[in-house]
């Protein structure tokens, strides 16, 4: 395959200054990679043998939303502005809308779930990952069922492999989905690509728990793209653990359409050497009393770079909703480049949006303390990396993923094997 560049990937919904270079990212897909099938799905037949589809579930939700439309006229100025074809001197109270505001207002008026569906990295990456995957696996629960599934992408140097998965969780059902994006270079730094494209429809009062582990060796690019639609009372928890890979992009967009839907995202990341990490999270609150939480916790060492965009969009009508995002990042080396862009968009009065970021270099007194116990600056840096890896290994969802973490850890830190022995 030829080299491919995906431009304007992982774009923030409402851009900031271009010169800050964080509105979006450019994804370089290494050239000469062979498209390989390296995906295994571990799931009960009951989950995979289904006639349910993501589109079908969204269409059903749409029918209900259309039936609930009140037909009352919306007299807001932004609505008048969006509907207006040309400037009108008799209506100077109508504001001029930015391109973003115009699009947002039109989307809001259309109330079209399928048209508004998006994934975190964006449509170009979605198309590419779907092409790599070849076909989409649909995992659909029965009403009230409790199921689990594991999807493993086992990338190799010189290959490009991706999984495409749709999840349709029926009302009152529970699904635990684990996605392992593992790139094993077997000692080589040659390029490789792994990825996953995930669409999730969480039906009324369903629980969907997604855990993604990225354990890629030094030459890999990893793309983890996902989009979620949550119906009434649905609860989705997502855990992203990104430990390895030269370049990784993690994108998640969620549409909290149903009332009282809740989304919790927990991100843990590590970047060493010249790694780049890109995260784009967009959570849109449409339903009333919806709740979202984004928590990120990371360690950056070497001359690694990271951008995390977290957007909470409190859309008109989402009364009583709450969104919060928080990030804690430890900069273990002066050479790292860390960017965090927490954004809260709001067009509703009765809501709460919170954001916070704690960005810290290792303090001199911490370094002295570590020094007093025999740890040099380099050893201290390695300790922070080790701690992150150990935490990831201890909370790995299964043995195979734990083994992937240990393999990656042993490549990054000298004594990581000791930890493995201690665990045994």
């Amino acid at each position: 395959m030829d080299a491919l560049t995906i431009k304007h990937a992982s774009a923030m919904p409402a851009p900031t200054w271009s010169w800050l270079r964080m509105n979006d990212t450019k994804l370089e897909i290494p050239c000469d990679l062979e498209r390989v099938r390296a995906v295994t799905v571990e799931a009960d037949e009951a989950l995979t043998e289904t006639h349910a589809s993501f589109e079908g579930a969204v269409a059903k939700l749409q029918e209900r939303l259309d039936a609930e439309r009140t037909g009352l006229e919306d007299t807001r100025a932004c609505v008048r502005a969006a509907a207006r074809e040309a400037e009108d001197l008799n209506d100077l109270d109508t504001p001029a809308l930015s391109a973003y505001q115009l699009r947002a207002t039109r989307d809001e008026l259309a109330n079209d779930v399928a048209a508004a569906f998006e994934t975190g990295i964006g449509i170009d990456a979605r198309s590419y990952l779907n092409f790599l995957a070849g076909g989409t696996v649909v995992l659909a629960t029965e009403e009230g069922a409790d199921e689990a599934a594991v999807v493993r992408v086992a990338g190799t140097a010189g290959g490009a492999a991706a999984a495409s998965v749709d999840v349709v969780a029926a009302p009152n059902s529970t699904l635990d989905l684990t996605v392992s994006l593992d790139g094993n270079g077997e000692g080589s730094d040659a390029a490789g690509l792994i990825g996953s494209e995930l669409r999730v429809f969480a039906g009324p009062r369903s629980h969907v728990n997604v855990c993604v582990y990225v354990t890629a060796d030094a030459g890999f690019t990893a793309l983890d793209d996902s989009g979620y639609v949550l119906d009434e009372g649905a609860r989705v928890t997502v855990r992203h653990t990104v430990l390895g890979g030269a370049h990784t992009a993690t994108g998640l967009a969620a549409d909290l359409r149903g009332d009282t839907a809740r989304m919790d995202v927990d991100t843990r990341y590590l970047a060493c050497g010249e790694d780049t990490r890109d995260f784009n999270y967009i959570i849109r609150h449409h339903g009333r009393k919806t709740v979202s939480n984004m928590d990120a916790n990371g360690v950056l060492t070497g001359t690694s770079k990271k951008v995390l965009r977290g957007t909470i969009d409190l859309i008109h009508g989402c009364k009583g909703s709450e969104g919060s995002e928080r990030e804690t990042v430890l900069l273990a080396n002066q050479g790292v480049d860390n960017k965090t862009v927490p954004t809260i968009l709001c067009d509703e009065d009765d809501v709460a949006g919170n954001h916070g970021a704690t960005i810290g270099h290792v303090r001199p007194e911490q370094l002295f303390y570590l020094g007093c116990r025999g740890l040099s600056q380099e050893a201290a840096e390695a300790l922070f990396v080790t701690a992150k890896l150990e935490d990831a290994a201890l909370s790995a969802p299964d043995e195979q993923i734990r083994a992937n973490v240990v393999r990656l850890g042993s490549a990054l830190v000298d004594d990581f094997k000791d930890f493995e022995e201690e665990l045994a």
Partner: protein
């Protein structure tokens, strides 16, 4: 300077932000000895411990620090630790994100004779934790985060026993502890002395912690100077009279200067 000293501090003058804290300090500690550095608050005792350990906050303006036959005045703190020096902190720092067990494993890595493989390490640490009445659940918690004062001191004692340094400086390890925690610290010091016959420099302004220790030498510091040195008989005297007379004397000397 005594030639058989394990630690020898000679004419040490040290400052921070161009303010001199220690003035021509001399201290010699032989292998296996227990010394006590006493004095009122703000006398420079903790500074002394930190300068011996190589805290980059302080500048050594004059004098030398020799340890185990080598001049360590210019060495970084991690190298001093690996040479066999240990400083227990009055207020141990918190390091969020780093579990205690990961930290402990990193402290012994690459130390000849101390390095242990996974299971052996876990066993040894559990053994020491039991000796100090410490819940092993702490091993998986982030270093110092949410630990009480007593728990932090136990972690310091655990490191002392794990690393078995040739000389340990305990900086007010007894401060702010209740009777139970104090007995744990005492037990830690006894176990350290028993296991490797290491030397101790105990910095304190309280004589309670010294009650059942055999002390070889007592140094009294006032205003960044050692103003009195004597044997253990000085401890009950200080317990009785405090530091006032030393402070008066030091003030008088300063006036003369």
């Amino acid at each position: 300077m005594s030639t058989d000293a394990l630690l020898s501090v000679a004419n040490l003058t040290a400052s921070v932000d161009e303010k001199t804290i220690l003035h021509n300090v001399n201290l010699n500690v032989r292998a296996g000895e227990t010394h006590v550095l006493m004095g009122p608050n703000g006398a420079g005792k903790s500074t002394m411990g930190h300068v011996i350990m190589g805290d980059p906050v302080y500048t050594v303006n004059e004098g030398t620090i020799t340890f185990d036959g080598a001049d360590i005045t210019e060495l970084s703190c991690d190298k001093r630790s690996r040479a066999g020096l240990f400083l227990s902190f009055q207020a141990p720092v918190e390091i969020p994100g780093v579990p205690l067990s990961s930290f402990l494993r990193a402290t012994i890595a690459g130390r000849p004779g101390l390095e242990m493989k996974g299971k052996e390490f876990r066993r040894r640490v559990k053994e020491l934790a039991a000796q100090l009445d410490m819940d092993t659940a702490y091993l998986n918690r982030e270093l110092g985060v949410g630990f009480s004062g007593g728990e932090k001191k136990k972690v310091e004692m655990l490191q002392l026993l794990l690393l078995q340094p040739k000389l340990a400086i305990l900086d007010e390890t007894d401060s702010g502890l209740d009777v139970d925690a104090l007995s744990v610290v005492s037990r830690g010091m006894d176990a350290y002395r028993a296991s490797c016959d290491g030397s101790l420099v105990i910095i304190t302004h309280n004589t309670r912690i010294l009650e059942h220790l055999t002390v070889d030498r007592v140094h009294v510091m006032v205003g960044g100077r050692i103003v009195r040195e004597d044997d253990a008989s000085l401890i009950p005297w200080i317990d009785e009279h405090g530091f006032e007379s030393f402070e008066r004397e030091a003030a008088g000397t300063a006036d003369e200067r």
